[in-house]
C-alpha cells in the first residue's frame, strides 16, 4: 500500500563491517521502514544514513549498491532464474562472459545448479528465496538487506534456511541486515540485534545482552518470558508481597518494576533451603523444557523453567510444596514517589506476571 506514512523516531545505530544484524520488533514497529530507508526506497525527512562513512541520503536507490531481498522475493516473473540473477550485472554493464561466470558461480553456491532456465513459477518457495538472495548478491553489494527473510516459508524449512543464512554469511562475510518479528529467529541468527517498537529504538546489543540485560520492560517482555512485578521501596528494600529485593540508596516510596527470567527462579524441595515457600500449580511440557507455575503463599504466581531431568531429580509434581529464591533480577523502570503526603504502606494491586509473547 502506498500512501501509508510510517513514522520512525530517534533511531540511531551503527552496523559494523561483516556483521549480521537483526532489526527486531513487533509488526508495524517501523523496522521495515528503516530497512527501506537504508536501501533508498524511502527517504527520511531528517537524519542521515551513512554507508562506509559516506552520507548516502541523496544517493538514489539505483546508486547505493545495496542488495535487497523482499519479503515475497519480488522475482521477475517474465525472466528465467538466469536472467533474474544477471539483471543487475547487465545494468552495471558487465561483460557477457563475466556475467555468465558470476551467475553460474552463484547458482552453484546456492545449490541451484540446473535451474537456470526455469521461471519463478516453476520453483519451490525455498528455491525462490535463494534466487532472490543470489540476485541481490550478484553485483557484490556493500550491504545485504533482507526483509522478513523467513516469513513466507513454512515452519519446517524455516529452520534449515536460518542455518543456511548463518553459513552463507559466514562464507561470504557480507554485511547483512535483516528484519524480523520473531525474537527466536533474531536470537539464533544474528550477531547483534536492534529492537524497535512503535518507531522507537529500544535497545541494541548482542543476543546475549538483550536477553540477559534487557534495557527496559518492552525488551524484557518481547524477548523471551519474564516475570515482571511492581515493587515499592521501604527502608532500602523493594517489596512485592513477601518477596524482597535489596535496593540500597533508593528513596522510600520509590516504585520499581522488577523483572527476572524464569531460569532465575531457583527451586528446592528442601523447604528450609530458600527463603520463600511456594506450591507448584501447573506444569507445561515444551519438548525437553518444562514451564512451571509456582504460587507463593501470598498468592503471587511466578514462572520458572527447567529440564525434564531436573524435574525428575527434584521429584516435583503438581501440588508439591517447595522453597525458592530469585537469583538475579533487573530493575526495568523506576518511579520516584509523588510529592504528596507520605502514603500509608499498602498492598500493591495484584502483581503482573510476564507474558510470553
Amino acid at each position: 500500500m502506498f500512501g501509508d506514512v510510517a513514522a520512525v523516531k530517534n533511531v540511531s545505530f551503527t552496523v559494523n563491517d561483516g556483521e549480521l544484524m537483526a532489526l527486531l520488533g513487533p509488526s508495524g514497529g517501523g523496522k521495515t521502514t528503516v530497512l527501506r530507508m537504508i536501501a533508498g526506497l524511502e527517504v527520511p525527512t531528517s537524519g542521515d544514513i551513512l554507508i562506509r562513512g559516506q552520507r548516502v541520503n541523496d544517493l538514489s536507490v539505483q546508486k547505493r549498491n545495496i542488495g535487497f531481498v523482499f519479503q515475497n522475493y519480488a522475482l521477475f516473473k517474465n525472466m528465467t532464474v538466469f536472467k533474474n540473477i544477471a539483471f543487475g550485472l547487465k545494468i552495471k554493464k558487465w561483460k557477457k562472459a563475466d556475467i555468465e561466470a558470476r551467475v553460474f558461480e552463484l547458482l552453484k553456491l546456492f545449490g541451484l545448479d540446473g535451474l537456470e532456465k526455469r521461471y519463478p513459477h516453476q520453483l519451490s518457495g525455498g528455491q525462490r528465496q535463494r534466487v532472490a538472495i543470489a540476485r541481490a548478491l550478484a553485483s557484490k553489494p556493500s550491504v545485504l538487506l533482507l526483509d522478513e527473510p523467513f516469513g513466507a516459508v513454512d515452519a519446517k524449512i524455516r529452520q534449515e534456511l536460518r542455518e543456511w543464512l548463518v553459513k552463507l554469511h559466514h562464507d561470504l562475510n557480507v554485511t547483512t541486515i535483516f528484519v524480523t518479528h520473531d525474537q527466536e529467529e533474531a536470537l539464533e541468527v544474528s550477531n547483534r540485534i536492534v529492537i524497535f517498537s512503535e518507531g522507537d529504538l529500544e535497545q541494541i546489543g548482542t543476543p546475549r545482552e538483550v536477553y540477559e540485560q534487557p534495557a527496559n520492560e518492552f525488551v524484557a517482555r518481547f524477548i523471551g518470558v519474564m516475570n515482571v512485578l511492581d515493587a515499592e521501596v521501604q527502608g532500602g528494600v523493594a517489596r512485592v508481597n513477601e518477596l524482597q529485593f535489596p535496593a540500597h540508596d533508593v528513596a522510600d516510596g520509590t516504585k520499581l518494576r522488577i523483572g527476572f527470567r524464569p531460569y532465575a527462579v531457583q527451586i528446592s524441595t528442601d523447604l528450609s533451603l530458600y527463603p520463600y515457600r511456594a506450591t507448584l500449580r501447573h506444569t507445561f511440557f515444551l519438548g525437553i523444557m518444562l514451564r512451571l507455575e509456582f504460587e507463593l503463599e501470598s498468592g503471587l504466581i511466578l514462572r520458572s523453567r527447567m529440564t525434564k531431568e531436573e524435574y525428575a531429580q527434584l521429584g516435583l509434581e503438581e501440588g508439591r510444596e517447595v522453597s525458592l529464591q530469585i537469583r538475579n533480577y533487573r530493575v526495568l523502570a523506576a518511579e520516584t514517589a509523588a510529592l504528596g503526603p507520605e502514603k500509608e504502606l499498602s498492598y500493591q494491586p495484584p502483581p503482573t506476571i510476564g507474558e510470553n509473547i
Binding site: 506514512v5 551503527t14 552496523v15 530507508m37 544514513i49 551513512l50 554507508i51 562506509r52
Partner: protein
C-alpha cells in the same frame, strides 16, 4: 572496525518512493495525455449532446420530445426493454446457478457460447432472425400463411434485442456466484430449507449487487441497441421505430435539434446507468471491506 552502515534518523516520516516513481514531469505529461484523450472522446461528445439538444431553447426541446412519433418511439423502447430484461435476467440466473454451483463437462464451452453474442456484429444478429423468420426465411412462408408478423414488427425487434443483450446478466452473475462458493447453500439445506427458499434467502442476498449491475447494463443496452434492431425493424415511423432508430430518422431528415433531443434522453440513460454502476461498485467494495474486517477481528480474538 569502522562504522559500516550507520543510521541516524530523527522524526523521519517517510512516504516517498524515490527511485521507483516517475518524475513529476513524466507524471503530469501522462495525466495530461490521458486527460486530453478522455476529454476529446468522452466529455466533449457528451456535453455536445445536451448543448445541441437545448440549442434552440427549452420549449423547442420539449416540443421535439412531444412529437407523436417520438412519443411512440419512447413507448416502444420501454416495451422492448420491459420484455427483454426480465427474460434475460431469468436466463442469467439459471445459467449462473448451473455454471457456478455445479461441475460438469464442457463448462468452459458453455461459458464461451453464452458470451458469443458479444462477438457477433449487431447487423449479423439482426440478419439471422431475418433468415429465420423473414419472408425468404425458414419459417417465412408458414408465418405469412398464419398471418404472424415477426420481421418488420415488434417481435423481431424484441428477438434481436434479446440476442444482443443475451450475456449481460449471466456474465455479471457467474463470477459473483462462484466467489460465494457452495457452503452457504449447503448450510441452508442442512437446516431444512428447500431449493427455492435457499435460493431466495441465501443465494440472492449475497449476489444482489452483481445481479442488479447485470440488469442495469442489460437494460441500457436493450434501450440503446441500434444495428440489430435496425435490420429487423422496417423503420415504420410510429410503429416499429425505437428511440435510437428515431434518432437516425430525424438526423436523415435534417432535424438535427430534434435528433439531439431524443439522443439526450438516451445519453441521460447512459449517465444514470454509470451512476448506478459506480454506486453498486462502491457498495460492493464496502461490503467486502466490512466482511474482511469481521474476519480480521475474529482472527485477532
Amino acid at each position: 572496525m569502522a562504522g559500516y552502515v550507520s543510521k541516524n534518523i530523527r522524526d523521519a516520516t517517510s512516504k516517498s518512493q524515490r527511485g521507483t516513481e516517475e518524475s513529476p514531469l513524466v507524471k503530469w505529461t501522462l495525466v495530461a495525455l490521458s486527460g486530453t484523450f478522455l476529454a476529446v472522446f468522452l466529455l466533449i461528445p457528451l456535453a455536445n449532446v445536451f448543448v445541441q439538444a437545448l440549442e434552440k431553447g427549452w420549449d423547442l426541446y420539449v416540443s421535439a420530445l412531444k412529437e407523436p412519433d417520438t412519443v411512440s418511439a419512447i413507448k416502444l423502447t420501454v416495451i422492448v426493454a420491459a420484455i427483454t430484461v426480465p427474460l434475460n435476467t431469468l436466463f442469467g440466473v439459471c445459467a449462473a446457478w448451473a455454471v457456478a454451483k455445479f461441475e460438469f463437462r464442457g463448462k468452459s464451452l458453455l461459458i464461451t457460447l453464452i458470451d458469443l453474442p458479444f462477438s457477433v456484429s449487431p447487423v449479423v444478429a439482426g440478419l439471422i432472425y431475418v433468415v429465420m423468420f423473414g419472408l425468404q426465411g425458414y419459417f417465412g412462408r408458414w408465418l405469412d400463411d398464419h398471418d404472424i408478423k415477426i420481421i418488420f414488427a415488434v417481435p423481431g425487434i424484441v428477438l434481436a434485442t434479446i440476442f444482443v443483450t443475451f450475456p449481460f446478466v449471466a456474465r455479471e452473475l457467474i463470477p459473483v456466484m462462484q466467489a460465494t462458493g457452495r457452503e452457504q447453500e449447503e448450510a441452508a439445506l442442512t437446516l431444512g430449507a428447500g431449493g427455492l427458499k435457499t435460493f431466495w434467502y441465501v443465494t440472492l442476498p449475497s449476489v444482489k449487487w452483481g445481479l442488479l449491475y447485470g440488469v442495469i447494463l442489460c437494460n441500457a443496452r436493450a434501450m440503446g441497441e441500434f444495428g440489430a434492431v435496425s435490420v429487423v425493424s422496417g423503420h415504420i415511423a410510429g410503429v416499429t421505430n425505437t428511440m435510437p432508430l428515431h434518432v437516425e430518422k430525424l438526423y436523415n431528415e435534417y432535424q438535427g435539434q430534434a435528433a439531439f433531443a431524443v439522443a439526450s434522453l438516451l445519453a441521460l440513460l447512459a449517465l444514470v446507468t454509470l451512476g448506478v454502476k459506480t454506486l453498486l461498485e462502491w457498495k460492493q467494495s464496502r461490503e467486502f471491506a466490512r466482511a474482511q474486517q469481521n474476519v480480521e477481528s475474529m482472527m485477532n480474538k
